[in-house]
């Protein structure tokens, strides 16, 4: 509706200008002169003023929209970073049967976590150790505990404050692969990394 009236007004303005018919350029806006004997002239000026106001309002609106867009864009970018960092942080590491030693290939995975923890000083995480179903049920709680602790010790030895990391063991109680073969067991012998707090906005390391 607003746009329609703007269109109408500008149409009037153009018509008014055209009515002058190639005469002198429209007077620059200024103090309205005493030339008030022409009703058409008064109407023209009024239309012009309204058109200017409408244009200005439109411009302000556009600026505001761009500003909002910029904020939204930056927020989205930030969210993408947070998700990417979260995914990195959540990467699991795996273990050999009945072992709690960090494998060579998993050291780089832990190095990433060290970097993330360094870049985000408010971040606290919990490491949970898990086992496959082959060992003794209760012994696996102790084994899972050593697996969680091994990852924590690695991270702490690379400069992260130990109070930012909790450990827990679930033994063989929470498998992620349900099979009864080496493929499933290998997936289940793992450490999981979970954000406890400070994970709302994460910076890329």
């Amino acid at each position: 509706m607003k746009r329609l009236s703007l269109l109408l007004l500008s149409g009037l303005a153009v018509a008014a200008v055209a009515a002058c018919g190639g005469g002198p350029k429209p007077e620059p806006p200024g103090p309205v002169t005493a030339n008030t004997d022409s009703i058409a002239e008064a109407q023209r000026l009024e239309a012009e003023r309204q058109a200017r106001e409408a244009a200005a309002a439109k411009e302000r609106e556009e600026a505001e929209r761009r500003r909002q867009q910029a904020i939204a864009d930056s927020l989205a970018a930030l969210g993408q970073t947070t998700n990417a960092v979260r995914a990195l942080l959540g990467t699991m590491i795996h273990f050999d049967y009945d072992k709690a030693l960090i494998r060579g290939g998993d050291a780089s995975v832990l190095d990433q976590k060290v970097a993330i923890l360094q870049a985000n000083s408010g971040l606290r995480v919990r490491i949970s150790g898990h086992c496959d179903e082959r060992g003794s049920d209760e012994y696996n709680l102790a084994l899972g505990n050593r697996r969680a602790t091994a990852a924590k010790q690695y991270v702490v030895s690379h400069g992260i404050d130990g109070s930012r990391i909790e450990t827990v063991s679930y033994g063989e109680e929470r498998p992620i692969a349900s099979g009864h073969d080496e493929a499933a067991w290998a997936q289940n012998r793992r450490d999981e990394f979970e954000i406890l707090s400070g994970g709302e906005n994460l910076k890329q390391p």
């Binding site: 009945d98 919990r126 082959r134 060992g135 003794s136 049920d137 209760e138 012994y139 709680l141 102790a142 505990n145 050593r146 602790t149 924590k152 010790q153 909790e166 450990t167 827990v168 063991s169 679930y170 109680e173």
Partner: protein, 471 residues
């Protein structure tokens, strides 16, 4: 089946083990049965080792289930040959002279003399002798809601004992336990041995704790929370049990009353991973494992006063877990990884005098776990990795000799019955993991629960009467 049980066994002809009797020495046998899916085959006993037992048919319909439960309990003692009467249960072979007073009907003179006399009517003893019976058991009703169980000594030709019981109604929650207790009294009367009929087994299935009668009936859920549970353990009085639950980031211990179902968290510092609780025999102390960043170690806490956490082991670079008390409360057997793989160790109950308990060959013997001290104190059962699968072993406490008990499939988490000769354990011998019971002395095996996923069994002591209400 017209033949008596023992000739039936011969007819099947699967001769696996013939035992020799050595009177004071505990008889032992390996579990050599094939996958038997509930059918008793595999072992033939030397005639005479196990006395023959006839449980006479009853003519009172109300007592049918009593007879059935008592009969099965007596069979499950693995101390008798249960003899099926020729012609099945329809014939009761009685003496020609009914009403004659038995020579030694103990307690029969106390009230209801008429019913007692009828119940204890003498039998045609020579006939039962010919059938191979040493004992005959009759279940008869008597006035005043009394049930009389008469134990006849067939060889002597007289009544050995007359047992009276007021049984709860069939639908009463305490009915089965009361009947089981009657069965234990029959065993006591016949052989002077303590039974295991009035016991239940706790176990874990899908993260919940359940209880089931030792004869496989009456399974009940006993844990009430949504938290994943593990490691149930009985107190010696049979009135309480403990177990562990996973809570957000740690493991909590609870003690629950059997009768009321009420539970209370154990007063520990509470924020670590506490697991494998074990009651001291006097019921005042709970020993348990605690996993921290320093490793897993053994602690005790005074559960009577809810205080006095005490650390028993300092493992730093190795783990100590799964405590089990000796029945005198003086020693604790446990698992330690101090030599690399987990093995069975023992120490004084205050943590001193730690030493290797179950010998092993370094580098050759597999991991050993889940020890449980037998109620008679003579043995410790545990499981050990043999060629990549687990088998149940028994350690002789005095000689330190270790004997493998199982060999079929994967067998783990043994728990002793109060008679120290039966044991429940988890086995996948039938294709999936379920609970089984083995008689260590004869090697006879039966399934306790044919459901997949049941594990971590804990066999109760003989249960007190008040525990009969629904847990």
């Amino acid at each position: 089946m017209t033949a008596v049980w023992r000739s039936g066994g011969l007819a099947v002809g699967v001769s696996a083990v013939v035992l020799t009797a050595g009177p004071p020495v505990r008889l032992t046998a390996q579990d050599t049965s094939a996958i038997d899916r509930g059918v008793r085959i595999g072992i033939i006993y030397r005639p005479g080792v196990r006395p023959g037992m006839v449980v006479l048919p009853v003519h009172a319909p109300a007592l049918d289930s009593v007879r059935a439960i008592v009969s099965r309990d007596l069979d499950y003692t693995d101390r008798f040959e249960l003899i099926t009467l020729p012609g099945g249960d329809s014939i009761r072979v009685t003496a020609a002279a009914p009403g004659a007073r038995p020579p030694s009907a103990g307690g029969a003179g106390r009230g209801t003399a008429g019913g007692g006399a009828a119940a204890a009517g003498t039998l045609n003893y020579p006939l039962y002798q010919a059938l191979g019976a040493d004992f005959a058991v009759a279940v008869t009703p008597a006035p005043g809601d009394t049930t009389i169980v008469t134990v006849h000594d067939v060889a002597v030709g007289s009544v050995r004992r007359e047992l009276r019981a007021h049984l709860p109604a069939l639908k009463d929650a305490g009915f089965r336990l009361a009947v089981h207790q009657l069965a234990d009294r029959v065993l006591e009367a016949a052989l002077g041995a303590g039974g295991t009929a009035a016991t239940r087994v706790l176990f874990v299935m899908e993260g919940k704790v359940y209880a089931i009668d030792q004869d496989g009936a009456d399974q009940k859920l006993v844990s009430s929370s949504d938290h994943q549970a593990m490691s149930p353990a009985w107190a010696r009085d049979g009135r309480r049990f403990a177990y562990m639950e996973f809570w957000e980031g740690h493991g909590k211990l609870f003690v629950q009353e059997v009768a009321s179902g009420k539970r209370a968290p154990v007063a520990t510092t509470g924020q670590a991973l506490d697991f494998t609780p074990a009651f001291s025999p006097d019921g005042k102390t709970l020993a348990f494992s605690r996993a921290t960043e320093e490793g897993t170690d053994l602690y005790t806490v005074n559960i009577k006063d809810g205080c006095c956490l005490q650390r028993l082991t300092v493992g730093r670079f190795y783990d100590n877990l799964s405590p089990t008390y000796s029945p005198d409360g003086q020693r604790i057997a446990f698992v330690s990884t101090r030599a690399g793989l987990p093995q069975i160790y023992a120490m004084a109950a205050d943590g001193t005098d730690q030493q290797l308990f179950a010998p092993f060959d370094y580098g050759a013997t597999g991991s050993s776990n889940a020890p449980e001290w037998s109620p008679d104190g003579q043995t410790v059962a545990f499981h050990r990795d043999v060629g990549g699968t687990l088998q149940v072993f028994v350690l002789d406490v005095r000689t330190r000799a270790v004997r493998q008990l199982t060999s079929v499939g994967r067998n783990e988490d043994p728990t002793w019955a109060p008679d120290s000769r039966h044991m429940a354990f988890v086995s996948d011998r039938s294709g999936y993991r379920q609970l089984w019971i083995i008689d260590v002395e004869t090697g006879r095996i039966r399934p306790l629960l044919q459901k997949s996923g049941a594990r971590l069994p804990a066999w109760s002591p003989r249960l007190p009467e008040t525990a009969s209400s629904t847990p």
